[in-house]
Amino acid sequence: MLEIDHLGKKMNGIDLIKDFSLTVRKREIVSIVGESGSGKTTFIRVLNQLDVPDEGQIRLDNDVLFTSHESDKKANKKIGLVFQDFQLFPNLTVKENCTLSPILNKDLSKKEAELKADELLKKLAIDDKQAVYPKELSGGQKQRVAIARALMLEPQILCLDEPTSALDHETANRFGELLISIIKNDVGVIMITHDLRFAETFSDRIVSSRQFLNKS
């Protein structure tokens, strides 16, 4: 269970997030909705330690992952992120994108990492593209590769930044079903989205970004 406790983050002296707390359980999809500039992306960046929080504590199963001044070195692997623009590595094939981190960090041998990537890519129905480079993929395919890359590290929480922004209605629905199958492996999902219909259909809970500043 992820516990975000009294989180605070200022940008240019202005509070974007103040005294915000949230709990995300395993097998739960939480959507965060709200207008542009309301701190949604900042929130997800803080969760993934791309920005440092000013206040508060992030815990996972009662272990402190990080605060404003300290951080567990393995925190990055426990919370995964799929960027809005995916940020696949253009010089690496789909499979290499997936295996890079586990191999470089010696979490898995090359063979183990490749087997795991095979399995994940198959599950995400993109195994036929494992030898191609990202520029040859469609938006939806890139997204699935980005998800596979994040899942390779077996995160307990998967964050998704505007996952349906590049998808048509039908592909978005398929993606929602994919999310439901992903959380069955004891993963919790935090999703930032503008797509209220999608959030209502596929989330267990919807949180408004107005709550970042404790507004109702």
């Binding site: 010089n91 890079l100 470089l104 520029k135």
Partner: protein
């Protein structure tokens, strides 16, 4: 006539190629290191490198050659003609390569660095496997231009009295009062730059993913 001038022209070509090879092998990695320090290094080193690049790009290479060979002895550093030429060329070309690499580095989207961080990949490993190949891909055409310019710039070492290929051709042209040695030397330059262009194209294609 050409036959009798041939050994000196070929000797000149050897010197040209030796200078070219040495300068390239040293200045390319040095340029990369300079670029890394300029982008990621401490502020005072960044300022120092900015000044170094400004001086190297803002003054003629010919002047730099003269300064290294004729000027440095005044402060007690005396170099032979060839090492002096290599030193001046390396300093000059490393500055140009550094600017090219720096441009490539700042052109890599911030999101790529963030993706590496989110995946728990260290700066060094991430740079080696992800960032540098992207930098190389975008900078290869500019590096290619500089490499070809280097071949031709080597002719400037005549100022130090080194017998590179153009100087050898000029001596032959003066001796025989003929333009043929010049035409021959021009053809040699075209062959050398042609081979280098071919190799550069092959390398570029390898990186065009």
């Amino acid at each position: 006539m050409l036959w009798s001038a041939l050994p000196s022209i070929i000797g000149g070509l050897e010197l040209t190629l030796k200078l070219f090879g040495l300068v390239l092998v040293v200045s390319l990695p040095l340029g990369l290191v300079v670029a890394v320090v300029k982008v990621y290094g401490p502020k005072f080193l960044q300022r120092l490198i900015t000044l170094y690049i400004y001086v190297m790009r803002g003054t003629p290479l010919l002047l730099q050659l003269m300064f290294v060979f004729f000027g440095l002895p005044y402060i007690g550093v005396t170099l032979d003609r060839f090492p002096a030429a290599v030193f001046a060329f390396v300093l000059n070309y490393a500055a140009y390569f550094a600017e090219i690499f720096r441009g490539g580095m700042v052109g890599v989207p911030t999101g790529q660095f963030e993706a590496l961080k989110v995946l728990g990949i260290s700066h060094f490993k991430g740079y080696r496997k992800v960032i540098f190949p992207q930098v190389l891909k975008t900078t290869l055409p500019s590096i290619g231009n500089e490499v070809l310019a280097l071949v031709k710039d080597t002719s400037l070492v005549y100022i130090l009295g080194l017998g590179e290929v153009l100087r050898a051709g000029q001596i032959a042209a003066n001796r025989y009062a003929s333009l043929i040695p010049f035409i021959f030397v021009g053809a040699l330059y075209l062959i050398v730059t042609g081979v280098i262009s071919y190799l550069l194209n092959k390398i570029e294609k390898q990186y065009q993913i």
